[in-house]
Symmetry: C2
Subunit: 245 residues, 2 copies
């Protein structure tokens, strides 16, 4: 692409961002997730370093981070190997992002929402029991943003995400809070999918019902109201097995 090519020098640093290690992590992570090393063996430290024109330290630290996320494992003499995807830490934001950046998959979207329908109704129920005043304010703020988005005064996707994230946090259970990334990713993906299928106007009433139930400390009401929201999405996906990228 630039002068480096003329010398045939292996210097691919422009691919990686300002932070070389971080860039290498991203590059390798994406490559693994798209299955580039399926038949092939994972390259050795020296090969990676040479191919990307960076030092061995950088590649080592990137590979270490991949091990920390469960994508690879390394042993002397045997080399570094890609772990089966069942060992990948799917709730890691990076891993999740790499999964989304590859070819769009309805399966993944369905799996996302199968998870959401377990988590979010229960999170709403917990929120109804344990929320504090500040949480309620945040939830209602999300709702108002959704209404504002109706008139084009806010981004509907951001507003939707803010609402759901607020409920996860209001559950006062740190494990539920972890799903922020998953939910955000799921929503960002589904928007591509459900984009113009139907207006999201009716949805606001459903969301308001959740907020009201939580405010009223109605545990079962919050759960069923939230279940309705996700259930709608899930049906939408199920009814369209085929999809355009």
């Amino acid at each position: 692409m630039d002068e480096d090519s003329l010398q045939g020098r292996a210097d691919a640093r422009h691919d990686l961002g300002r932070n070389l290690t971080r860039g290498m992590l991203d590059s390798l992570g994406r490559a693994i997730v798209v299955g580039r090393f399926e038949g092939r063996p994972f390259p050795t430290e020296a090969e990676i370093a040479k191919a990307h024109g960076v030092s061995r330290s950088v590649t080592r630290e990137a590979v270490k981070m991949l091990t920390a996320k469960g994508l690879v494992s390394a042993r002397p003499r045997q080399g570094t190997v890609v772990e089966p995807s069942s060992n990948w830490n799917l709730f890691d934001p990076d891993v999740l992002r790499w999964l989304m950046e590859r070819k769009f998959s309805v399966d993944l979207l369905r799996h996302f929402n199968q998870l959401r329908i377990a988590i979010e109704p229960e999170a709403a129920a917990l929120a109804a029991r344990f929320h504090e005043p500040a949480d309620l304010a945040t939830i209602r703020a999300g709702l108002h943003r959704m209404e504002a988005a109706e008139d084009g005064n806010d981004d509907p996707l951001d507003a939707d995400i803010a609402f759901h994230v607020a409920i996860l946090r209001a559950s006062k259970n740190p494990f539920y809070a972890q799903f922020q990334t998953v939910v955000a990713t799921a929503l960002q993906t589904s928007i591509r999918f459900t984009n113009r299928i139907k207006g999201r106007s009716a949805n606001i009433a459903d969301h308001a019902a959740v907020a009201d139930a939580i405010a009223a400390r109605d545990v079962d009401g919050a759960r069923t109201a939230m279940r309705r929201i996700i259930g709608d999405v899930l049906e939408l996906i199920a009814s369209r097995p085929e999809v355009e990228a």
Copy 2:
């Protein structure tokens, strides 16, 4: 160990296992989770290296793995800082283990099971829909191990874990499969707690009900049967707010 000790050198390598980086990761991870750097600043690379008698490479790679798990973040001149625990990747097996190794906490146990009551009933429902013959065999094998444990021919805890894990995997949703670690950890912890409170004999009937419902592809039956199992545990915890370590 050897002559090095005679020189009074700072060599704490005996604390770390065979793999220095891995040992350092463990050491630092535990220290962070127990809050050893709450008021204090996180030590610099050079300090860690000197304190543990290892090279900077080792400490750097360990710290990189910690950042990959969300425990710390590092920037030049500013140093390395411990992230707020809301950024920790709680579903990482290492992080989960460090959390358990510290002082026993009823809160944590409650949070575990609040999560389980969302995940596992839905996993059972999905398993009823999507399981394959091999999954059913694995589930039943877990059940048989529980029965064997009744007569002292197997470890009851391992058997219980095997059963629950089998259902997570039978859901055919990779996100649910991720909870294996959480469930295993939760069970290993609760056993300490519920140990002698009541016999686990009645429990086998409940577990068998789940297996039967899954086999019969009874989606709702599987869900409610599983809900009963976890609900029992949750009540048990709620009824005993105080606990001995």
